[in-house]
Amino acid sequence: MKLIFKVAIITFVFILSTNMYAQSLLGYKICVDPGHGGQDPANDRYIAATGFWESEGNWDKALHLKQMLIDLGATVILTRNGNTNSDDPALSVRAAIANNNNVDIFHSIHSNGFQGTSNYSLMLFKGTDNSPANPNSKVYAERVGAKIFAALRTTALYNRGDMSFLGYNLGVLNPLTMQGVLSEGSFHDYIPESWRLMNTIYRKHEALAITRGLLQHLNSSALGTGAIAGIVRDPSKTVTYYAFPGNDQKVPLNDIKVTVQPGNIVYNGDNKNNGYYLFDGLVPGQYKVLIEREGYFKDSATVSVVANQTVFADKFLTYDTTRAPIVESYYPDASMDSVKTSDVVKIKFSRPMKKESVESSFSMNPPVTGTFTWTADNMSFTFKPDLPYLPKQQYTVSISQQALSIWNVGLSESFSFSFNTKFRNRLNLEKSYPIVDATEMSTTLQIRLQFDAPIFQGSLAGNVRLVDESNALQTVANVKVTSANGKGYISFEPKNPLLSNSLYTVVLHGKISDLDSIPMVDTIYIPFRTSSEQYVSGNVIDNFEVLGGWRNPNQSMISSGIDTNITKFAITNEKKVFGTNSGRLIYQFSGTNGVAAIPNTNKPSTGTDNNATVGLWIFGDLSNNLLELYFNDSQNSGAVYFVDTINWTGWKLKYFPLNEILLSGEKFLTDIAITKTSNGAVSGTVYFDDFQTNVLVPVENSVSEIPTEFRLNQNYPNPFNPSTIISWQIPASGHVELKVYDVLGNEITTLVNEYQNAGSYVFNFDALKYRMSSGIYFYTITSQGKSITKKLVLMK
């Protein structure tokens, strides 16, 4: 019997609800205009903080409203057909649709926006406050405004003429030939409201309010049913965005479940941070509302539903602190067959946790050290390992029951999961130019680095350095980070020429990482010495300041096997030794052999002094191709002179005696050529400057390589982790000791203990090898009875 009674009630509710809707607006024609349309950031009102588009909200409200009005028997005209960018008619078109269809009333649905700190309801009609263009519009505005204000519970209600409120006529109301209103129900840039507007049920409530307003205005019977609505919040949590004092400052709860009895009607809330629920179409009477949310104590309310109104039952749910926390989610999860060795571990709990208890109950096998980062609510943490995981290794993450919620309740059961790592756990430097301890480097060299994976550019800032002997940072230019064929490349140049015959070091910090965030880990030092040669210019035959007789390679009789679309010669100010410009040859070979030659139609003479030395500055491209010069004599006999294999970067003066050219008499330069070798690059760029004769034979730099003083340089970097470079100079040969001590004077290790010739030295000190902990240490060098000590700081 009891069951039958319930069924009867439900049936009665349904029938009554249907009757209340039926016929009430039969014969009325209503135009509903969902404002805006599509997702054009310029005019469709997007709120980035919540992801809300006004165009989408208006459209959804209009669809709800259309259905309600059709259920009431009305004919409904919508001014747009959907919510794409092509469903956005001009305002004049929207009004014309209403006019053409001769509707009784027009309602344009909008939400408002202004600095995020307002949330009132605004009804606008055409005209001034006291002189509406159509008096019926003002009456309707007052009626529907009251309903919307009551449903949305905004801070205030304004019913205004557009000219009075805005100072201009609204484009959609201006051409209307019937009563019409534009409603700005609430403010979508007030963030609590923006979240509510993300909920289709909230939008439906506004549509319900408009329906009530239309029913009242069109003098039909009011809805015979009522509604229950409310917001469920957590009183213990405060929102992080701006909200008015009061309930909006408390966090609304997602994923609520609300049940209304009798009828057992269930509403499952969304996850859009609004905590909103609505039941409409309820027959007036007493109802019980049961509110549930996982992790909270249940709550309920008894409400009396009144016809044509909404009764509100807002609730603050109390957190259930007695429940044992569980792990709700973790990362890397089981769906990943292998993870990057640079990856992190993430755990999300069902309750706020005591961080210390979780961190001490957390373990990984094999063991991993790292850093915990917690979210503000203490419910999630990220564990970032200090070093990449071992490659191809299974790791097991465990959390014991000693992990406690902030209410001292332990995990219901211990938790563990496993994951496997990928094969790579280091970014490797494969090649460098210069190589370690290289000498005779150009003072304008281009430093080139090749890695086994593309580089994450964001990891380079401050981690790629060029320093001189005293660790002074050198400014660099033309930094390029590229990738090709799975490799990563970095190139750069000193902004100003380096000193000749000097020691420099390229420092690549271990934090440099690839696109998978896998770091190098170990810092790499590439010391090199610049060339000691210095030059005095001879008689310049061609300074490459202007094109003169130089022509593109496709005009040379010598060129072959080149892509003429790419292989070009030009005068440029990109690089120079002297003057303003130099000659640039960009070349691309089309096969395994080829010659890219630039001809000179002027055929400049190198003079008749066969004992003179001729020279040409060339900025090398490390291509391993050949630099060759072609000459003619006065009888037009030709000869080619192989100058060098281009295995350097930067400017170098290449010179040779004229008598090595197998021609007699006066010689004329006809071409400068790059000839492909079997292991040479298929493409490259070289620059030429100051072709000259009577070059004074370069002399060794007068600056001696022998240091003049005993010196210990400050280690670099400092502080460091885990390695740093220590350098020193000794003016005389002898026994050298380099030792590291802790602050108490205990010797940690001896780094150097050997006989060394006078000169400059570098030592790459790796603290990991000596299991040193963070702290201050000292390093002391002793030679020839003298000692120098400096401080270094290890910071892990």
Partner: protein, 310 residues
């Protein structure tokens, strides 16, 4: 089927062969006909004799500009009267719809008003869903109630059958265009299921002009076969000789019309001329007055611009 196809093809070919002369258009003087202090007016229309009529805010009332002293004369203050009023063929009277709201519900009457005497005659008592009136070239008054076409004879009393009409009637109703020819109604959706607005018959009664929402403005024959596509131009209006179409290009941000200018375009879309080119004036809703265009602006003032076709 084959015969119909042939007929259609010939019809389209004939229309396509209409001589669209490559006329040069020179824009002459623009005159502002009303001032802000006189009130806010909109939607000007010219009578057959060239008198300029317009309406007030919300299409309330009908006014005209006296040719004698340039004064604004109020004909009536009826609600909705200014929406698509029409003139008798002799230009002596005006037909309009007058709206009334009874507890929010819209009712309309059809009225005729003698311009000189302002004498008003009720042609159709108050009813629901009364459409705007039309006047045929042979003097019949045509309107619809609840989308059912009615015809009144030139005596203003006798009701006629649709078949008496010697010329077609076109009107758009929601997502359809209705074409009445010889009393037969044809329902068209030339561009599919979308709203059709601003539909009108060409002066020679052979073609029609309409705006399909989301598609643009088109010229078609009376079977809905598209002859010319003119783009997203708004409020298109035939010139008296049927060679040109005036329109507005209004731009809005979803709330307010921020700019608009008036243009004309040849019906084949090949020749387009910008008639207004102002930064601060938002010109809207143009219509023809012989070789002039009359239009209003967003402030509620009426303008006239002379055109010279050379």
């Amino acid at each position: 089927m084959k015969i119909n196809f042939t007929v259609k093809t010939i019809l389209v070919m004939i229309v396509l062969c209409l001589p669209i002369y490559a006329q040069q258009v020179r824009v002459g003087e623009t005159m502002r006909l009303t001032s802000l202090s006189a009130g806010k007016f909109m939607n000007p229309k010219a009578s057959p004799s060239g008198t300029i009529f317009f309406t007030g805010e919300g299409n309330r009332g009908i006014y005209y500009l006296s040719e004698v002293d340039n004064l604004i004369i109020k004909l009536n203050d009826e609600l909705g009267a200014g929406y698509e009023f029409v003139f008798s063929s002799d230009g002596k009277s005006i037909f309009f719809r007058s709206d009334n709201y009874v507890a929010g519900k819209k009712y309309s009457e059809l009225k005729e008003q003698i311009i000189n005497t302002k004498e008003m005659t009720l042609l159709q008592p108050e009813t629901r869903f009364l459409d705007v009136p039309r006047v045929s070239s042979d003097g019949y008054i045509i309107f619809s109630i609840d989308d059912k076409l009615q015809v009144i004879g030139s005596d203003r009393v006798s009701k006629k059958e649709l078949a008496v009409l010697s010329e077609p009637i076109v009107k758009s109703v929601n997502n359809e265009i209705w074409v009445y020819t010889n009393g037969i109604k044809k329902t068209l959706q030339p561009l599919g299921d979308t709203h059709y607005i601003w539909t009108s018959l060409s002066p020679d009664k052979s073609n029609m002009l309409f705006y399909a929402v989301g598609k643009g403005t088109f010229v078609s024959d009376l079977n809905g076969n598209i002859l010319f596509e003119l783009g997203d131009i708004r409020y298109p209006q035939w010139s008296p000789d049927g060679k040109w179409i005036s329109y507005m290009l209004d731009i809005d941000d979803g709330r307010v019309v921020s700019e608009s200018d008036i243009y004309i375009i040849s019906i084949d879309g090949q020749s387009k001329h910008k008639i207004t080119n102002t930064e601060n004036i938002i010109e809207v809703y143009p219509s023809w007055n012989r070789n002039s265009l009359i239009y209003s602006d967003s402030e509620g003032m009426i303008y006239s611009t002379q055109l010279f076709f050379e």
